[in-house]
């Protein structure tokens, strides 16, 4: 016997202005199953909630409908109120008579009629609701952090410091990411390595962090709280448990001609190498493509010099499985390499800048290495072509950013700041030099940011030209930069010794493949999608997977670090409980009815449905069926829509309920 209460909210004037609330209450009081119908000015307020609780008690209600705003706003509020009176929270329904009615209709009579319809439907639905209880899923309190740049380091340390084990996977031979290669950082000009390397060492020494460098995430299985991650530890050819990092091997290596990845090709390294002196772990790897022992079977000098016997030319890739409960993705960015062949023809249009053709046209990360104390020139700025000190340097913003025709339509956000920084670093190294910047807008929002840019212009004399550069040519060892100053309304030609292109920030290579393994969405540029741009900035739509840093969008160091701590905070909230509770409004498959066509398996956007077999005691196969994994199902209902045998059902939105709602309108 249904005993349903209907509670109609005025929402101040929001609803009552266009819906005749009192008349509505009169009509709804006579609906089948309705015991009481009340209105109140603000149902979500404390007196409003008390009114509801009172009625639940007095009328011994076994279902209720709140006619007010969107369930996104206050469903939780009313369910909690019901729960406090012992009414199962899943017996509470909402009729949205604000967003769906009073805000969009202005004819009082028609709006009132529509509100009545919405309530009638909700009542029809709630009569067929079942009491549900949240699903409990076990939880492994270990986290995986993918990417060991500044964001990954921060997230890993925060989680580890909270007392949970962390598995940190880094693709390169050392952690540190892009930040380890920067010279100084804006807006304070403090040395990048000086502030990062202590954090790197902390990661290397932390008892709660298990570090896998030179490794990739191969496969991810399972679901929130219960992921099983396969990690491919690539062959390093050096046993890091024996190696002492003494350096005898890389000093002995005769092949020192390989362009250094860490220096973005500005310097050279040996075939066995540590990327930079402060690397963590400070253990070398052998580049299998450069080592003649591995390519031709000749040499082996490093092995002869190694006193610890750590070199193993027969090393193989290793697959390791780790169980974790949460995953933080911090795979970072790359600067777009506009010189190389592009993945599609649209992106191949920057021949006019001569990057890759003229040696003295470099990108900003290459410039960082040229002015870094740990860089290939020892911190003395010398241009790549002839080693001369450049007296005129042109910095170009927005190369490939904010370019709908041939590049990325977004703003890369950090270039304005690092261009200003570069002009300052340049002036501090070459006192008689002149820096020019071509820019479209100066975007320097942030604490002490605009002051920093003004300092570059006012104190360090950088010449800013508002306009783009059209073409760069080379004549007699000079780069002729043809640009414009739109404020003066004149073309500008500068004879430069070095040109630095601030190319667009793009997500790191391979992020799409990783996102597919994790079931995380990404945009047309490959940046990972957060769950909500404002209110859920580090969550993703895959439960238990979080994002931070530049893999989610262009951002600078402070923002990446803040986001990493936010993601770590979210992981800790998850780990503060013994198990995970999830909403019970999920799909189920009637296994007696299922025809095992597995259409649902293919349609499910969350990979939450698996193929199962029902066997008798002797192990004989009785039938095949689809089965929903309650840990993964997000309750979207796609399987219900596609199931040809009508054996999929969504709890809380059963077909019976939906038909009853439609029929109630008749």
């Amino acid at each position: 016997m249904a005993r349903i209460g209907v509670f109609i909210c005025w929402c101040g004037e929001n609803i009552s202005r266009h819906v005749d609330v009192e008349k509505l209450a009169e009509q709804c009081a006579h609906l089948p199953g309705v015991r009481c119908c009340l209105t109140y000015k603000y149902m979500c307020s404390e007196p409003g909630q008390n009114l509801i609780r009172e009625k639940i008690r007095e009328e011994r209600l076994n279902g209720m409908v709140v006619a007010s705003c969107s369930p996104h706003m206050h469903l939780k509020t009313f369910r909690k109120a019901a729960e406090a009176e012992g009414l199962n929270p899943y017996l509470v329904e909402m009729a949205n008579i604000r967003e769906h009615c009073s805000w969009v209709h202005h004819d009082v009579k028609a709006a009132t009629a529509k509100a009545a319809d919405l309530i009638r439907m909700a009542v029809a639905k709630v009569r067929r609701n079942h009491a549900l209880s949240p699903i409990r899923v076990p939880l492994t309190k270990r986290a995986l952090v993918i990417g060991g740049g500044v964001a990954g380091i921060q997230a890993a340390l925060d989680i580890a410091d909270a007392g949970h084990e962390v598995v940190l996977v880094e693709r390169e031979p050392s952690i540190g990411g892009k930040m380890a290669g920067l010279s100084e950082t804006f807006p304070t000009l403090d040395c990048s390595q000086c502030i990062l390397t202590p954090r790197m060492v902390e990661v290397g020494q932390h008892p709660n962090i298990r570090l896998y460098t030179y490794s990739d995430v191969e496969a991810v299985e399972g679901y929130v709280g219960n992921f099983s991650v396969t990690i491919r530890k690539r062959a390093r050819y050096v046993d890091i448990s024996k190696c002492t990092g003494c350096g005898a091997c890389w000093n002995a290596c005769p092949n020192k001609k390989t362009p250094s990845e860490f220096d973005f090709g500005m310097g050279k390294r040996s075939a066995i190498y540590v990327p930079f002196p402060q690397a963590v772990p400070a253990r070398p790897v052998i580049d299998a493509n450069a080592c003649t022992m591995l390519t031709k079977g000749k040499c082996g000098l490093c092995a002869k010099k190694c006193a610890a016997g750590a070199i193993n030319f027969k090393d193989q890739d290793e697959l390791i499985t780790e169980k974790v409960g949460a995953i933080v993705v911090a795979t970072g960015y790359k600067l777009w390499d506009i010189g190389k062949e592009q993945e599609n023809a649209k992106l191949a249009g920057y021949g006019e800048y001569g990057y890759g053709t003229y040696k003295d046209v470099i990108n900003s990360l290459q410039f960082e290495r040229l002015v870094s104390a740990s860089g290939p020139t020892g911190g003395e700025l010398r241009r790549p072509s002839d080693g001369a000190v450049p007296k005129t340097v042109v910095f170009i913003s927005c190369v490939g950013s904010r370019d709908n025709a041939k590049g990325m339509s977004y703003c890369s956000k950090i270039c304005c700041m690092y261009n200003a920084k570069h002009t300052m670093l340049y002036k501090h190294k070459v006192h008689d030099g002149q820096a020019h910047v071509f820019y479209m807008d100066i975007r320097a929002g942030g604490k002490n940011y605009d002051e920093f840019v003004r300092r570059a212009i006012e104190q360090d004399g950088a010449q800013y030209h508002r306009g783009r550069v059209s073409k760069i040519t080379e004549e007699n060892g000079k780069l002729i930069v043809r640009g414009v100053d739109t404020l003066a309304g004149e073309p500008v030609t500068i004879e430069a010794d070095l040109v630095v292109l601030a190319t667009a920030m793009r997500p790191a290579d391979g992020v799409e493949t990783l996102a597919q393994k994790l079931n995380v969405g990404y945009d047309e540029y490959g940046f990972l999608s957060e769950s909500h741009p404002k209110l859920r900035p580090v969550e993703t739509n895959a439960a238990g997977v979080f994002v931070c840093g530049a893999c989610q969008g262009p951002k600078d160091i402070p923002e990446s670090v803040a986001q990493a701590s936010a993601a770590a905070g979210k992981v800790q909230v998850m780990f503060s409980r013994e198990e995970i509770t999830r909403e019970p409004e999920i799909a189920s498959i009637d296994e007696r009815m299922c025809a095992a066509c597995f259409t649902c398996v293919r349609a499910c956007p969350y990979n939450a449905i698996e193929r199962a077999e029902i066997r008798d005691r002797a192990g004989r196969l009785i039938k095949r069926t689809a089965r929903v994994n309650p840990g993964l199902c997000m309750g979207c209902g796609t399987c219900v829509a596609v199931c040809p045998s009508k054996s999929a059902e969504l709890e809380g939105f059963t077909e019976q309920q939906v038909y009853a709602m439609v029929e109630s309108l008749g």
């Binding site: 006019e352 025709a405 306009g467 073409k471 043809r482 414009v484 739109t486 309304g489 073309p491």
Partner: protein, 187 residues
């Protein structure tokens, strides 16, 4: 400004087209930076586009710059916003010719282009001798300038040597096709 009484529906159509073409411009200036004649222009291309965006079509069309443009299309090719800057220049010239605001010297460009098109219409190929004859005659009638008649005569021998100037004109075989192209363009 553009709604002055001299405007005809044709003016309005050109202006509307120009504004449509100019809509996406965000004033980065790459057009002006790469323009081979930018240094000779009184108003650089990005500023012409800005004038159009602001509705000052007549002011833009009065600029001498539109007659400096050599239609090399570098601006269009490099524009990050896919704005067809060369087409905007065409529109401005057409607008200016319709209003009759072009100076006799600027009109020479128009006379040249008409002579050029007339040539193509009749032969399908360029007949350089006839082109020069027609252009010089018409231009002389336009501004009665004698120096103009001979100012580039010395270029002739050089051009002949480099094979850029043919004394005997050629014709295409199927001239009906050419006629049809012109008919289609006139529609």
């Amino acid at each position: 400004m553009s709604n002055e009484s001299t405007n005809t529906p044709k003016h309005d159509a050109i202006e509307q087209m120009a504004r449509e073409l100019a809509r996406d411009c965000y004033q980065c200036g790459k057009c002006s930076a790469g323009c081979p004649v930018g240094e000779r222009m009184d108003v650089v291309p990005n500023r012409l586009i800005r004038l159009i965006q602001l509705g000052h079509m007549a002011k833009a069309a009065a600029a001498g710059a539109i007659w400096e443009c050599v239609s090399c299309q570098t601006c269009t090719a490099r524009c990050p916003q896919n704005v067809d800057c060369a087409a905007i220049m065409d529109a401005l010239r057409e607008f200016s010719v319709l209003r009759g605001t072009a100076s006799p010297e600027q009109n020479r460009t128009v006379i040249f282009q008409r002579a050029f098109l007339d040539n193509i219409r009749r032969y399908g190929r360029l007949n350089e001798v006839e082109l020069i004859g027609r252009f010089k005659t018409k231009a002389f009638l336009n501004d009665l300038s004698i120096p103009m008649l001979f100012k580039d005569a010395l270029l002739g021998p050089q051009m002949i040597r480099r094979g850029k100037f043919h004394l005997r004109g050629e014709k295409v075989r199927d001239r009906d096709v050419v006629t049809r192209i012109f008919e289609k363009c006139n529609q």
